[in-house]
């Protein structure tokens, strides 16, 4: 739920990066963190296991600038991708304003993408949201690897509602800001509509 503070003239929105294990959700946040000016960002918090797998969530606040005198701040979260952390994923979707689904383009990860997308739909429903109505972007990550499914085929399988599809190589920053921009735009447009 977008938090608007009229007194301090701030708009705070929550964006969640979702997707199967090792698809690159944390890498997206890490790239945004590394390439943003210090005054625009807070700390990147990672609640991870000893082997650097996300345990609960990653979090970073990002300030984009002002709209009509209101500071716009995006709180970016990732979920843990591994199947058995489902309870945590459900909690992180509470109060979400926009979702990025990060798909792993490698052929052998197709089943994991589909399972995670179904899981996203279910968990959104559990929190009272509908994937068809919420600001949403599909990112096809790891496009630089040799064994990837053609982007058109992947999009045909995973696209749900004509949402923007962004091809990405998150480790090199390709498509990372395009993805963020696409979802942030939808969130602000939604605010205007409401």
């Amino acid at each position: 739920m977008t938090f608007i503070n009229y007194a301090s003239r701030e708009i705070n929105c929550k964006i969640v990066y979702y997707g199967p294990g090792l698809c690159g959700k944390t890498t997206n946040l890490q790239y945004i963190f590394d390439s943003t000016a210090p005054q625009s960002k807070g700390k990147l918090i990672s609640l991870a296991t000893e082997t650097d797998r996300t345990l609960f969530f990653d979090f970073m606040p990002l300030e984009l600038g002002t709209v009509r005198g209101f500071k716009t701040r995006f709180h970016l979260y990732t979920v843990p991708g591994q199947v058995f952390y489902d309870a945590s994923r459900k909690l992180i979707l509470k109060g979400v304003d926009g979702v990025v689904f990060v798909a792993d383009s490698q052929e052998e990860r197709m089943d994991a993408n589909i399972e995670s997308l179904y899981n996203l739909e279910e968990n959104l429903q559990a929190q009272g949201y509908d994937l068809m109505a919420i600001p949403y972007v599909l990112q096809l990550n790891k496009r630089d690897l040799p064994n990837v499914i053609p982007a058109a085929d992947l999009a045909a399988e995973l696209q749900r509602k004509g949402e923007p599809v962004v091809e990405a190589v998150a480790s090199k920053g390709v498509g990372v800001f395009d993805t963020l921009k696409a979802v942030a735009k939808q969130v602000l447009t939604e605010l205007r509509k409401s």
Binding site: Y6, I45, V67, R68, S88, L188
Partner: protein, 152 residues
Amino acid sequence: MHEQQFRQIEAVVAKLRNDASARVVFLVDKDGQQIAVNGDVGNIDTTSLASLAAGNVAATGGMAELIGEKEFPTLSHEGERESIHICVIGRVLLVVIFDDRSSLGLVKLRVKQVTPELHTIFEEVARTTKQATSDESFFAEITDEDIDSLFN
């Protein structure tokens, strides 16, 4: 939330910090957005703290459900020097950070005393927010150019 309500909340938070001899008092919403803060923040990253407090409450709330409880309304973490007490008040969390100048008992007592007042203020916030969404067109005036300008 409007200016006057924000000032009321700030006043309650300031009074609580003083009465509980706490180092810092935060008010955070359940989604991890910071609403108000009072006290010696020092080097504390308040945005991250708000997010982690909300994550903490969400995680223990999930555990509560699993064992058939509605929620755990208070959480306390005691450290060697600094401690944290979190109290769930409706949609918001009151987070009190204190050291050995205070005690958990005193903090709990003072938090309990301000709870009804905060409840009342947030009920009023919810009521005026409903009104605002029906009669304010401020956000309807945001243009595509406004949104694009954020990314330039």
